[in-house]
Amino acid sequence: MKYITEFRRPDLAEKLLSQIKRRSRSQARIMEFCGGHTVTIFRYGIRQALPANLEMVSGPGCPICVTANADLDKAIALARTPGVIIATFGDMLRVPGSRSSLQEVMAEGADVRMVYSTMDALQIAEETPDKSVVFLGIGFETTAPTIAASILQAGDRGIGNYYVLSMHKLCPPVIRAILDSGEVNLQGLICPGHVCAVIGSDPWESVASKYGIPCVVSGFEPLDVLQSVSMLVDQIESGESRVEIAYRRGVQPGGNRQALKLMEQVFEPCPAQWRGMGEVPDSGLRLREEYRRFDAEHAFDIAPGPAYEPKGCICGDILRGVKTPAECRLFGKTCTPEHPVGPCMVSSEGSCSAHYLYGGDVEG
């Protein structure tokens, strides 16, 4: 497949690796922000292939994993509301909230539909005018513009029974929150390629300058990741901290203007709850006043009750890059992809699931 297979060539991967090995001297910890990168790194055995002085840690870049239980509980409570159809990306179904998952309430008769796109959700709303269709707005800046577009389309097409529960999260604010906490010491950051396809690389400038951390925007094929590591190593070894784009075919410094415009038209920043991190200012998106009528929080009385965290699960620490899945006592025992205890084991891009499926450091 064009733009995929060329970036998987093993011969080039090998050469990039030997370049990294030759040039990398210092001990350095590099965070891959995005769960998509975590999967590439594990699937292609990149962690093990890198020299021992380079340590990779996974970041909070899995929208499902970082969704706080209080928000999940709202979605589940909405699914139980008579006359409501929930439309959601499939990954959400099995995520355990405080008391149940969407899949469990589905088994009890709730109408939950898995969709591939908000376009499908709009279609459901058009075809079932006597029901309210609530789309679960989960995702980072990659996804938020698509949800904004769906709200504008609902307006254009006069679809009055379409709502969004906005649980969107923004990436640069949370990285700054993690760095401000001082809990994790990083020498490099692999920035999320498809988030940056929308927001560009410019928003990372403050991370590079204020915290002195080299940042490289990466694509998702193995050569993309290796090229990014190689660029980070060059910066680390020369004592620089700049923002660079390795994923030039997909990312411009200023991002996608049209996507940003639609996102800003429909949403405004608001504080958001992150699993393991609590409330982070300006790290979420809510619907602006003019689009209130599409806001599920506004349209429905949602009272999910108090939120609880799964007992023994350390997803929060893992998402902050402070602990690894192997340090969780439940990992691979009570908690497996078949019977997940926490979201990092449910989501295909969660750290726990990547560690479980592709192994590597089960022994720590």
Partner: protein
């Protein structure tokens, strides 16, 4: 979850396009990339083209990687 895959735009009708994703034809939305044309490759995320792939930059990157490979062949 931020998965996006390259797709080739075949034809455009209003704000939607017929695109080929890994040999399969699919309708995608161009709401976020109104300047996309037939023959462009776009990155598709949940049914929306979120950016146009810069084909020249892709070639440049591959060339750079080839150069690194040659260089490291000489140094090895």
């Amino acid at each position: 979850m931020c998965l996006a895959i390259p797709a080739l735009i075949k034809s455009i009708e209003d704000k939607e396009a017929e695109a080929e994703v890994g040999g399969i034809s699919r309708r995608i939305s161009l709401w976020l990339t109104p300047e996309a044309k037939a023959g462009d490759y776009v990155l598709v995320h949940t049914g929306y083209a979120i950016n146009i792939i810069d084909q020249e930059e892709a070639e440049e990157t591959l060339k750079l990687l080839e150069e690194i490979a040659e260089l490291s062949g000489e140094e090895d």
